[in-house]
Symmetry: C2
Subunit: 286 residues, 2 copies
């Protein structure tokens, strides 16, 4: 069945949703995005995603083109018309179509390009990887330095994910100056002696919405959290390793560069954190 | 007058040239490009641009979708139908439209997206900046680490150029670990005691087609060339500073971070190199 997608005010069949070849998103990767999960037809952590969207846009000198209630209305309409029970809503905003290609920004009144579409993912909450865990390899982090801005410059994460697959793994953890920054599209964690360790926020990593929620829930559950960088070796020797993202929630990592972590099985802290995250996020879903 | 552009086998009015919102170039910056200059209706350094295109594609695991003679035919047809005397031909190839968004590459038989368009630039050869020189500021180089691949991940160069303009300059030179890598869209040089100094090729910089031609011409003219990194301070104290790019050829830099270089005027080596480059490139233009 063809999806209905949103493009610049219109709801269109997906095959008709096209942007100019001069769009700044196409010729210059001058755009940002968000992905919001849908469970039971409701949006998870929606306010967090909108706040980060505004921040990403502002960091690039762009305004948020729509008020919050309109973003919400579009998300809800797409979820409804595409009958999404479990899945994702992707949104992207670019600096628009100046009608030609130039490194200089177009005039401020150039309409931004706004794209939203859904992805149906039945079984998103009951992901079998939560039981089995996933395997990762480490690769150097070659991305640009402003990873706190959620831009569409996703070529390297895509290349790293393909390298992982070629090596029989599921994903890659990125390493810079000896320390893990994050996964290709997720934040990374280890558990050691009951303490959850994850890299502190900076321009080096994405400020994960799921990360923020997880750390809040963990602290409410009296779990100890330490925000600092860790190495691949430390992760391999940890009691548990896991990652978070808006679309995977919390998932265990059971192998890093061929070495089993936590005996190759999901650990109790990871499993509990996934339960808490899903419970609490669903309560607040809109 | 509306341009005629090329998109996936068709010649179209520019306003009709659109790509899917799922194009890998739009959602993942998964594409590469080339820009070839046109003088007197002829293409400069065309073979060099095609060779680099193939290399960029191969580095990303893509094939070059067209044979050389077809690329040439498209370039020539666009130059002709758009009556380009002086200007540019831009070409972009992306990994195509998989019909949805996924970090994983689409199947190998997914047709790549091929886009070409012209930009008319009367006076390209007689650029007044060749007489006056341009002013640059230095900014940290925050780009990804594979700058030898000419991808469309141009957000940071665009931001840096805007920062330069905001500070009353024309362009920015990017600095990493204390040394200049290159300009926002060009290779950088200084002249000291008659020797032309420019950073050696590596993954840190673009392998400029104009750079290669210039170094060849310089060496044929018995000029001394040293390939090594240099600092902003060294550039400020050099006899001359300049940059090269496919669309600007050779242009003098007469101010760096507010300090005049070479007394604030284009120097003789730069001026001579521009003359040689234009003469020799025009001879070989096709």
């Amino acid at each position: 069945m063809s999806r209905t997608v949103y493009l610049n005010g219109d709801y269109l069949p997906e095959a008709e949703a096209k942007v100019s070849i001069f769009d700044r998103g196409f010729v210059m990767a001058d755009g940002v995005y968000e992905v919001t999960s849908v469970l039971g037809g409701k949006l998870l952590d929606f306010a967090g995603h909108l706040a980060r969207l505004t921040r990403s846009l502002n960091e690039l000198g762009m305004d948020n083109p729509l008020p919050d209630e309109e973003w919400l209305a579009i998300h809800r309409k797409l979820v409804e018309v595409n009958a999404i029970d479990e899945g994702l809503v992707y949104l992207q905003v670019t600096r628009g179509n100046p009608g030609d290609r130039d490194f200089a920004f177009p005039p401020k009144d150039t309409p931004q390009t706004i794209v939203l579409f859904t992805q149906s993912k039945p079984g998103l909450a009951a992901n079998p990887s939560a039981q089995t865990g996933i395997r990762v390899i480490s690769v150097p982090d070659l991305r640009w330095s402003r990873r706190d801005i959620k831009t569409v410059q996703l070529l390297y994460p895509s290349l790293a994910k393909m390298e992982a697959k070629a090596k029989g793994a599921d994903d890659a953890w990125l390493v810079e100056d000896g320390f893990v920054t994050e996964g290709t599209s997720n934040n990374t964690y280890i558990v050691k002696g009951g303490t959850i360790v994850t890299r502190q926020l900076s321009t080096d990593i994405l400020h994960g919405i799921t990360r923020a929620a997880l750390l809040r829930f963990a602290s409410e559950a009296q779990m100890k959290v330490e925000e600092r960088p860790f190495t691949i070796e430390e992760a391999q020797e940890a009691d548990e390793a896991f990652f978070t993202s808006a679309s995977a929630f919390v998932l265990p990592v059971v192998e890093i560069d061929g070495k089993p972590v936590a005996g190759g099985k999901p650990g109790p802290v990871t499993t509990r954190l996934r339960e808490i995250y899903l419970e609490e996020s669903l309560k607040a879903a809109i």
